[in-house]
């Protein structure tokens, strides 16, 4: 059990990153810690605080029936940051369960806007609003179907903009599941040819979706006593936070406070892994309940029960949080896909939902580049080798950073922008 001293963490946090020419200076060695805390402020790339980021919404399916409790999600929300003159345009795709305006997308938007790009941010196809407003089937997780949904969204948004702005070239990028999405969107673009993406960048994508969700599901085992003891885990976390809060000068629980609290609480590796598992479980529960209501599959909510605006989903909420992503995969996703394609086997579906299913395409696709970390926690041992093997020099693998922990680190941001600028 590795306990990182609060003191060391504080030192790392406060010291300026002393840059050297070729060493990689991202300061966090523990992959779980990196995944949870990201990049300490003094190591982050300098990005403009204010960019003209505008929030928009768009109807994707005119005839869509939205379940009553989801009335607010009929339109798909997205954001745009547009340059004044002619410029290249980049689409950003968020990761599992994340919104178009999540912190990672906003930071990427800042970086690309600063580098002279028009930027359009789209939520993950696993995000509630996307499932409700923009998923044709209402059942997310299928690499090709998700890519078709995203492509449709991109076309619609571009349809609203094409008379207003001038675009030189199109680009696409995404992180985590969004990276996998970006690969399939680029692949789809070869036949659709609406955008003819000049470049695509996959940031920390999974290789095989099923491996990654299994790894993330298992992280909940790090809760002492397992998920049955989650309320106790939560209470303990709140108690620790309260102790810091009582002695803090601030009365706001914002980002700054949480960083300080984190240093003081000083969680060990098991606790960090548990936190990652909890966060993933919440995304997974949100997604499964949403899709269940969209299709009336009868996964958690009985088929013949209709939720109204005031109906309480509290019991379904409890059930949803007890089910894993792999449960969804086997009990909902596979039967749903099999109904459309009766000869589909379980292992075939698992193999299809992976970058390896389009390996030949990816090997020859000079336009697609990858940015990844050697210690990414969503990859099984050895899976990282897929990238240099298939992408060769087009795969940039950093020695550490966990899952997306180094996305805001200066070297990474520079690389991200350079891939599209060269």
């Amino acid at each position: 059990m590795l306990r990182i001293s609060a003191f060391l963490l504080a030192v790392i946090w406060l010291s300026p990153g002393w840059a050297s020419a070729d060493a990689y200076d991202y300061p966090i060695d523990n992959k779980f810690l990196a995944t949870v805390v990201g990049t300490p402020p003094s190591y982050r790339a300098e990005l403009p605080k204010k960019i003209p980021l505008r929030h928009r919404s768009i109807t994707i399916f005119g005839d869509r029936k939205v379940p009553e409790p989801f009335f607010f999600d009929a339109k798909l929300r997205y954001s745009q940051a547009l340059q004044k003159g002619s410029a290249p345009l980049v689409f950003l795709i968020a990761g599992t369960g994340a919104a178009y305006n999540g912190a990672k997308n906003v930071d990427m938007a800042r970086a690309f806007y600063q580098a002279g790009f028009h930027v359009i941010s789209i939520s993950s196809p696993t995000y509630m609003n996307f499932i409700v407003a923009a998923s044709r089937s209402g059942v997310p997780g299928h690499t090709v179907e998700d890519a078709e949904d995203i492509y449709r969204v991109m076309e619609r948004i571009w349809g609203k903009l094409e008379d207003r702005i001038e675009v030189t070239d199109f680009y696409v990028t995404g992180y985590s599941l969004g990276g996998l999405n970006a690969a399939f969107v680029t692949w789809l673009d070869e036949t659709k040819q609406v955008f003819n993406f000049r470049k695509a960048l996959l940031i920390n994508p999974p290789v095989r979706l099923y491996s990654s969700i299994s790894l993330l599901d298992r992280m909940l085992d790090n809760i002492p006593g397992g998920i049955d003891n989650f309320p106790q885990f939560y209470d303990r976390l709140v108690k620790q936070l309260t102790r810091v809060y009582k002695n803090a000068d601030t009365v706001d629980i914002g980002e700054d406070f949480l960083y300080k609290a984190f240093e003081a609480v000083n969680p060990d590796t098991e606790e960090l892994a548990a936190l990652i598992g909890v966060s993933f479980r919440i995304s997974s529960a949100n997604m499964t309940y949403t899709t269940d209501l969209m299709t009336d599959f009868g996964y958690i909510k009985p088929k013949n029960i209709t939720m109204t605006k005031n109906s309480s989903p509290s019991v379904y909420n409890k059930v949803a949080h007890r089910l894993s992503f792999t449960d969804y995969y086997h009990v909902y996703f596979y039967p749903f896909q099999k109904a459309k394609n009766p000869s589909l086997t379980r292992s075939q579906l698992i193999n299809d939902m992976s970058l390896s299913s389009i390996e030949d395409y990816l090997r020859g696709a000079e336009k697609i580049e990858v940015m990844h970390n050697l210690d990414d926690i969503i990859l099984e041992p050895g899976e990282i080798d897929f990238f240099p093997r298939v992408f060769g020099d087009r795969a940039k693998i950093y020695p550490r950073g966990g899952h997306l922990g180094n996305m805001d680190f200066r070297d990474n941001v520079t690389h991200m922008v350079n891939v599209f600028s060269k």
Partner: protein, 255 residues
């Protein structure tokens, strides 16, 4: 003082009226006689011997609360946020900050009273110090001089005072316009408002001016809260807000 009393009366009346409406059903609609078993039902997945995260929070008026939550969303979306965004656009950043400080300083009036009621000498003294320094050197509170000279800021309200003396939350309650609360904190808000109005009355402002101050305060406080209804990406947002509100208040009472 008279206005304060009338305000408190009105507030309590509103609270009672609001609760009288609390009979909206939270039951879903069922087609057919028998429920078609889902893949994972509560019976098979949940364990009666276990507690779940939100079990401890009483919410007997959930139907009403959910309606009010939706009402607040609409009010926010169609009236409040457009006004707030307009305010943010036309007001230079330094002025916005100054106005925010001004209202935080006025908020110290309630923190002062409640620090006394909680018999907390340190908080009472520090809050008095903050108020005096900011009201004078800080030009009526526009500049937060007190923080610059390291006098800590506290935040105490009557809900916390009741909590300090052992009063429980009572049922969860979504208040019109004000958002998540519970019976204890709802009553607390009424009492705080009455005390605050009594002090403001001493300034002998005209009615219109008092209203302008209240509206400005509401705009300022909304401008400083990032939360947007129904944009958290979870179909269980109502339950999450309930849990997090209750947790945060527990922490506030302990602080």
């Amino acid at each position: 003082m008279k206005t304060a009393y009338i305000q408190l009366q009105r507030y309590i009346l509103l609270l009672v009226a609001v609760l009288a409406l609390g009979a909206c059903s939270t039951a879903p609609e069922q087609q057919g006689d028998a429920i078609i078993e889902p893949s994972f039902s509560a019976d098979t997945v949940l364990d009666n011997d276990l507690t779940y995260l939100s079990d401890g929070i009483s919410d007997p008026w959930e139907g009403f609360n959910r309606s009010m939550y939706r009402f607040n969303y609409r009010f926010d979306k169609y009236l409040f946020l457009p006004v707030v965004n307009g305010y943010k656009t036309i007001t230079p950043d330094f002025l916005e900050k100054g106005i925010h400080n001004f209202f935080l300083n006025l908020g110290d009036i309630n923190t002062f009273f409640n620090s006394i009621l909680q018999l907390n000498g340190t908080k009472t003294v520090q809050t008095t110090g903050r108020f005096l320094v900011n009201t004078t050197a800080g030009l009526l509170g526009f500049i937060d001089v007190a923080t610059m000279v390291d006098i800590p800021k506290h935040n105490e309200d009557f809900g916390q005072t009741l909590g300090y003396w052992g009063v429980n939350n009572g049922p969860y309650l979504v208040l019109p316009l004000l958002g998540p609360s519970n019976v204890r904190d709802g009553v607390g808000r009424g009492v705080d408002w009455a005390a605050y109005t009594a002090v403001i009355d001493e300034l002998e402002m005209k009615d219109g001016e008092e209203w302008a101050l209240t509206i400005m305060q509401a705009i300022d406080s909304r401008a400083n809260v990032g939360f947007r209804y129904y944009e958290t990406g979870t179909p269980f947002e109502y339950d999450w807000v309930k849990l997090l509100y209750t947790t945060k208040r527990k922490m506030d009472i302990e602080k």
